[in-house]
């Protein structure tokens, strides 16, 4: 099962909440009732149907639903922020089509012989238009835009739901037999155009939905590993492991929706990688079904020296080689204690210097993130109405202390959010160490609450794009990794490039162009950019958007950043692959593809 790039990523979308804060209470339907899940989710936007930003009758912003902590709360300053930041006005609204127009959907290409063979296997499938469209896309801006206003030129012709490894073997065999195309689909949160069907594909396209392969097969408490079917969604995996007192600790921002197989297929990274590691550190064993047969190792060991690690052909293969069906993953006991924190820095430079020092001393907490001033302001705008006079008095006092007494400029300062995890005692000790370092860089502790809200906001932003789309604002996020010494230059230059490109392309209002450092490593950091603008007056906003995004990527590469830290390449960033890994490197990957899948059954055209 393998969700080529199906799962991870989640563009604008950053982290989910923690269990402690209350994840969405819903759990992805574990039963065969696929429809149930599908109906819970928006067909033309991010996340759950019942969770979204709206403007209520008083014109105030509100977040609906009860799944998140922000649910049902009024956000008094948010409207003003939107108007100020984007020059958007509530009077100018665009509306999405209310539902999918089945007549627009391209008719399926049907291979009757295959259908007959498939029926014989008893694997459930669907040729229904809505099912097919739902799996024809990820969450790139242009994909959502198409859903709202147009239609994809090519979508899967059939959706199949295998329930176990053997089902997948059968499907792949049949596809080979009839020469059809398979595109694995996990959580559908890709932000690299990885799920889009190649327009020129003439064969029948099978969307292999792994969502029904979602069982934990066994837990090995002695070795602290668990073998899990690859279709399991992040939040379910953590919840089910928690029942036995364990966790994987892998929490990409999309974990509410993305799947284990998708993480493997895209080389995912989790928010708490400082403690638990990224997907490549977590995986012990992978079983993958390819047109050549099944690839796996003969043992489940922490490390082996048997030539190049075949896992590394699989991780990041983005569904081009086969379907990941089962993964043995490391697990840890659920931590005893968690604590949020935050630090205010006088400016972004000091903040980055502090993160660098923390990385140098290798004392990074489970998560440490540094948001720039624009995002700090954004976070501020999402503050709910304060319940008591006392809290608002306290807030005022804090603000006074930081801006007046300490002399921080509210238009320059930036904030780091922290998450500590582990034994209570060690956490407290660790916390002190980090705050001591922060003090050396002019940082001021700014409380647990701010930290916690920071992490909540990262996932809320994903919902925000849908609101923006209603008011002529389009946006997206992208990420990169970069050596420490270039972090500042890269952040500044990329943001500036975006502003400039917008101006050149005729964008009337200055865009929101903001970044944050989301991961620290020994040798560098991961940087995340958000970028959004008001497109009123532009005839082809998506084209303009794509040009600007491309320019921003060029800028990243010119500044010594990578093509991607964890979103993957998909089809969106393919053009830079040669430059990224050299001709020979690309040839090496191609030769693997040629051997494993000579007839291009896994024909999503990602990566290569």
């Amino acid at each position: 099962r393998g969700s080529g790039a199906g799962a991870e990523g989640a563009g604008v979308i950053e982290p989910g909440e923690k269990e402690a804060q209350g994840w969405p209470c819903h759990s992805t339907a574990p039963c065969q009732e696929v429809v149930a899940t599908q109906e819970l989710l928006k067909w033309n936007g991010w996340g759950y149907n019942d969770s979204k930003f709206i403007f209520n009758k008083k014109g105030q912003a509100e977040f609906t639903g009860k799944r998140y902590r922000l649910g049902g709360m009024v956000l008094p300053t948010f409207k003003e922020w939107i108007e100020k930041t984007f020059g958007a006005s509530l009077e100018h609204k665009t509306t999405s089509r209310a539902s999918l127009n089945v007549n627009d959907v391209p008719p399926p290409i049907v291979n009757e012989e295959f259908l007959q063979d498939l029926r014989a296997t008893k694997i459930s499938y669907s040729q229904d238009a809505e099912d097919r469209v739902f799996r024809a896309h990820g969450h790139c801006l242009h994909e959502i835009f198409v859903l709202r206003e147009g239609m994809f030129k090519r979508i899967p012709d059939i959706v199949v739901w295998p329930v176990c490894h053997e089902d997948v073997v059968k499907i792949v065999e049949l596809a080979c037999k009839h020469n059809l195309c398979i595109i694995p689909f996990g959580g559908g949160t890709s932000v690299s155009s990885a799920l889009e069907c190649p327009e020129e594909e003439k064969r029948m396209i099978i969307s292999l939905d792994t969502s029904q392969m979602n069982r934990i097969l066994w837990i090995d408490e002695k070795n602290l590993t668990a073998c899990v079917e690859a279709g399991i969604v992040g939040q379910d995996l953590e919840k089910q492991l928690a029942e036995s007192g364990f966790c994987t600790g892998h929490e990409p921002d999309s974990m509410e929706f993305s799947s284990l197989g998708g993480w493997v297929a895209t080389r995912a990274s989790g928010m708490k990688k400082n403690i638990y590691g990224n997907i490549e550190d977590l995986v012990i064993h992978i079983k993958m079904v390819t047109p050549r047969g099944i690839v796996e190792k003969n043992c489940q060991v922490p490390r082996m020296s048997t030539g190049p690690d075949i896992h590394h052909f699989i991780m990041g293969s983005e569904g081009t080689l086969g379907v990941v069906t089962e993964v043995t993953i490391k697990i840890r006991p659920v931590p005893e204690y968690q604590k949020y924190g935050s630090v205010v820095f006088p400016n972004f430079e000091r903040g980055v210097a502090c993160l660098r020092e923390v990385a140098k001393q290798r004392c990074a907490p489970a998560s440490i993130r540094l948001v720039d001033n624009a995002q700090f302001q954004f976070g501020h705008a999402l503050k709910p109405q304060v319940a008591s006079i006392f809290t608002s008095f306290l807030d005022g006092l804090k603000k006074f202390y930081i801006t007046k007494f300490k002399g921080f400029d509210p238009n320059i300062l930036c904030v780091a959010t922290l998450l500590f995890e582990g034994d209570r005692e060690k956490v407290l000790q660790h916390e002190k160490q980090v705050y001591d370092i922060a003090t050396k860089f002019g940082g001021l502790a700014a409380g647990e609450d701010n930290g916690q809200r920071g992490y909540m906001l990262t996932f809320v932003i994903a919902y925000l794009r849908d609101l923006g789309l209603d008011y002529y604002v389009i946006g997206e996020s992208f990420e990169t990794s970069v050596p420490w010494d270039r972090v500042l230059d890269l952040c500044r230059n990329v943001k500036e490039r975006i502003v400039r490109e917008c101006k050149e392309k005729g964008v009337q209002f200055a865009p929101l162009s903001t970044c944050r450092v989301t991961q620290t490593y020994d040798a560098g950091a991961c940087v995340y950019f958000y970028f959004a603008f008001n497109y009123r007056g532009i005839s082809d906003p998506i084209h303009v958007y794509e040009q600007i995004e491309r320019a921003a990527r060029e800028e990243i590469l010119a500044n010594g950043g990578s093509l991607s830290h964890h979103h993957g390449v998909g089809k969106l960033r393919k053009r830079w692959m040669k430059e990224s890994i050299s001709d020979v490197g690309l040839g090496m990957l191609r030769s693997v593809k040629e051997y494993v899948d000579p007839n291009n059954i896994f024909g999503n055209k990602n990566l290569l």
């Binding site: 010494d485 270039r486 230059d489 230059n493 500036e496 010119a558 010594g560 430059e579």
Partner: protein, 654 residues
């Protein structure tokens, strides 16, 4: 007192000159080199660090508002004495003001006089713009008090040559880059490297330019603005000094007493100055699509890295582009036209004819895109007369004829007469030269037309191409676009009806023969001068027999040079030898090419020979030495000789 609150770069974190110095000293770049040197020489890093500190102290500016005010005050008095007017393009100043706030700015003025940087700083001060820090030659430091004053007004000092000194290079480069990166102040330097003694734009130097471009290559800044600035003088302050220098009378050392002595020029009038601040050019735009980013991504940015060939080529292209922009925006005075006409009609020219020709040349210059400061209501006679008045030291009106002012002719020895005349010619040429870069493309087509055995396009082009190569150090050509230059030249000549082109041929029109011969006469001093200079390299033994040199000194040098044909010689040996040789020819009257006496032309000719492969240049511990390849030099002469009909001086007249 003037309230001076300049606009500054948006990313500026204000700091003192000393803070910059210590930042430079502590920078990874400098520390790296210090450690390297310490390891190689087995010395303690502290000692080298000390050395670096001394270099910084020698180099660094100490900009102080007090000194700036002092300068502004004094300069305003002096400038008012010296010049009638200073004209500035206001919109250029506004653009500059805008640019300074946006990105680090590099000011690239043309360099004709010491007045250049004083005037520019004064101007920026007056317009309430950030004062630049200026790269100045270390020789200024020799001037007591003044050197220190300049330092306080924002000058920093670079040694004239420091190619081999890694520590110096590292400290200097880092110093400049630190100021640039932080947006501390606009950085100003002269692409030409030194004042052009001939008023012709000198070929650019690349060292400083590549230093200021590096922060962008390494993406330490988002962009850098390069601002070409053209400063045109109606009369150049140092004109006679230059002429002496070109003739080999050594340049006086910069000294304060020299400056004081020079104060008598205060009573003189030097006319108008035009300053054109060009459109700021974005380095990012220039580089887009040209620079591969890989080399800078794979090496830590603080390591000294030899620029790749791509980068070197790019730097060179940018340098030429900037100089061409300077040239484009130069303002030409009517006197420039007068000088050009007069030089073709020596020894004397009828006043009325001069006016007529000047007016005609005005039209031609405008067709070629030259900008002439000639008010619509100003009649030609007045324009010429006012030029003659301003430049009475060069030429004057005698009995209705205009003649060069080479006083003292009667009572001198032959040598003295030649020298005096050469002085006047070179001074006059300085003004004609201001036209040359505007004229060079059409004019070389004109010369090529006369050289080529037929009017066939390929042959004309091949001659043009040859001339362009030979004169590549004499005039400014953008590298590698010979054909485009040729087409532009042809286009301009067609525009003024001087030539017609068909599919295969280019030929002069009846009407245009005057223009063609004027143009080729304009460049004849160079064509002939180069021939003389090149011939020197092969024919010296013959010359030695034909003309018995009178002076023992010259004899020695001739013999020396002729011997040197087999051995290597240095530029220091070459220049005086050539000068003497040309001197002899002039005394004997066997050439009229006084401009071949110019050391500038001699150096350019030598370097052209090197570029054409006729002379081998070798680096030795004591500088460069040259070896002549007789055969190759012969071939080049054939190109000139076989094809150019030998023109008598008379025929050169219009």
């Amino acid at each position: 007192m003037k309230c001076y609150t300049p606009v500054i770069y948006k990313g500026l974190s204000p700091c003192k000159p000393n803070a910059i110095k210590s930042a430079v000293l502590q920078s990874e770049q400098v520390q790296y080199v210090i450690k390297q040197l310490a390891k190689e020489m087995g010395e303690s890093p502290d000692i080298i660090q000390e050395e670096a500190m001394e270099i910084l102290d020698e180099m660094g500016h100490r900009m102080q508002l007090g000194a700036v005010r002092f300068f502004a005050f004094t300069l305003s008095k002096i400038f008012k004495q010296l010049f009638q007017r200073v004209c500035v393009n206001e919109e250029g100043m506004q653009r500059l003001q805008h640019a300074i706030q946006e990105h680090p700015v590099v000011l690239l003025p043309s360099h004709r006089s010491y007045v250049d940087f004083l005037m520019l700083s004064y101007l920026l001060y007056t317009y309430d713009l950030a004062l630049p820090v200026i790269a100045a030659g270390i020789d200024f430091l020799g001037m007591k008090i003044v050197g220190e004053l300049l330092r306080r007004a924002g000058a920093f000092f670079m040694r004239r040559s420091f190619g081999g000194n890694r520590l110096y290079w590292a400290v200097f480069a880092e110093y400049v880059k630190t100021m640039l990166r932080s947006g501390y102040a606009p950085i100003e330097f002269f692409l030409e490297g030194t004042r052009s003694r001939t008023a012709k734009t000198l070929t650019p130097k690349f060292g400083l330019l590549s230093i200021v471009m590096e922060p962008f290559f390494k993406r330490e800044v988002f962009d850098t603005y390069l601002v070409p600035i053209s400063i045109s003088y109606e009369r150049i302050l140092e004109e006679s000094l230059y002429a002496y220098e070109l003739l080999g009378v050594p340049k006086p050392k910069e000294s304060t007493s020299g400056l004081l002595k020079a104060r008598r020029i205060l009573s003189d009038n030097f006319g108008t100055i035009h300053i054109y601040v060009g459109q700021p050019v974005s380095l990012r735009t220039l580089a887009s699509g040209r620079i591969s980013r890989c080399p800078y991504n794979l090496v830590p940015r603080h390591l000294p890295q030899k620029p790749s060939e791509d980068i070197q080529e790019f730097v060179s292209d940018v340098a030429y582009k900037m100089e061409l922009l300077q040239i484009e925006n130069m303002v030409l005075s009517p006197w420039v036209l007068v000088a050009a006409v007069l030089l073709q009609n020596l020894p004397a020219m009828e006043f009325e004819l001069l006016i007529e020709k000047t007016l005609w040349l005005k039209g031609l210059t405008q067709t070629f895109g030259g900008f002439i400061e000639w008010p619509d209501n100003l009649c030609a006679k007045k324009a010429v007369l006012s030029g003659l008045t301003l430049h009475s030291n060069i030429a004057g009106l005698v009995d209705g004829h205009v003649v060069l002012n080479d006083k003292g002719v009667e009572d001198g020895a032959v040598g003295e007469i030649v020298f005096r005349h050469a002085l006047a010619v070179l001074m006059c040429a300085t003004y004609r030269n201001q036209l040359l870069n505007v004229f060079v493309r059409p004019a070389l087509v004109a010369v090529a037309l006369q050289m080529a055995p037929s009017f066939r396009k390929e042959e004309v082009y091949s001659c043009f191409n040859f001339l362009r190569d030979v004169f590549s150090d004499e005039f400014i050509f953008f590298p590698g676009i010979s054909l485009k230059d040729f087409e532009e030249g042809c286009f301009l000549l067609t525009k003024c009806d001087a030539i017609q082109t068909s599919q295969q041929e280019i030929y002069p029109t009846d009407k245009g023969s005057g223009t063609v011969s004027f143009l080729s006469a304009m460049f004849r001093p160079f064509v002939e001068g180069y021939q003389v200079l090149i011939r020197l390299n092969t024919y010296i033994p013959v010359v030695n027999n034909a003309y018995k040199p009178r002076r023992l000194k010259s004899q020695l040098i001739f013999r020396y040079l002729s011997k040197e044909m087999k051995e290597a010689f240095t530029e220091k040996q070459f220049i005086p030898a050539v000068r003497n040789f040309v001197f002899q020819l002039l005394e004997k009257g066997s050439t009229q090419c006084y401009e071949a006496l110019s050391s500038d032309m001699q150096k350019n000719a030598l370097s052209a020979l090197v570029q054409l492969g006729a002379v081998k240049k070798k680096k030795t511990p004591n500088g460069f030495t040259y070896n002549v390849n007789q055969e190759a030099v012969g071939k080049i002469l054939d190109m000139f000789d076989a094809r150019i009909p030998v023109q008598k001086p008379v025929a050169a007249r219009l």
